[in-house]
């Protein structure tokens, strides 16, 4: 039973990675958002470059803002993006 999760990218994160989403396997060892980010960083040099300054990024799990220590649980979707600038 391989769990997967959809990762969504927005704004300059999307531009620098050259994709707006990807579906990744979620290893049993990945419990928190930080664990999952660790897996993504391992997946390519681009990921490593874009995700190196985590304090410049924001994270939403199933459309709610979360901090890095949030447990992923049964979430279907993690979004990674810069601070919002709407309004």
């Amino acid at each position: 039973m391989n769990r997967t999760i959809t990762i969504l990218y927005f704004a300059w994160v999307r531009e620098r990675l050259g994709k707006d989403q990807e579906i990744v396997d979620l290893p049993d060892s990945a419990v928190t958002v930080a664990d999952l980010i660790g897996c993504l960083i391992e997946s390519s040099a681009d990921h490593r470059e874009v995700l190196k300054n985590l304090e410049k990024l924001r994270f939403a799990l199933d459309q709610d803002f979360v901090s890095l220590d949030q447990a992923i649980g049964s979430a279907k979707e993690l979004a990674i993006f810069p601070p919002v600038t709407g309004g």
Binding site: L8, F10, A11, W12, A60, Q63, D64, F65, E77, A79, F81, P82, P83, V84, T85, G86, G87
Partner: protein
Amino acid sequence: MIKILVQRDNFDIGVETTEIAKLGGGALASFIGQVRADNGLHTLELEHYPAMTEKSLHAIAEHAKAHWNLHAITIIHRVGPLPVGDNIVLVITGSDHRQAAIDACSYAMDQLKTVAPFWKKEQFDNGRSEWVQERQSDLQAAKNWDD
């Protein structure tokens, strides 16, 4: 009434105001944000995260409506390319009391700037483009409503 729209099309403050006015109350506050002609800016490109935008704008509207006892709140936010002078966002609140209407409108704008998943990219006359960065003053304004 809570009305949330995220759309490419423009909006009409007259139409939206009339709709809220029908609910009575007598006090209507509104705010419009437009693309400002700064430093050779040509177009603002608005990107968003649709599923989360909807959720986030509804949460802002519901909190404002309950906290200030509003009859109605309308939030319309545009996305896509918006040339200088174009409307970006409209918030209208309807209440029995002017201060409640004004405060709720101000609150909704402050929240919109800090929790709704929109991102602005500035495209300049000279071809350069740049993602807008978050402003500390916006974070502080949103924080001031916490107490």
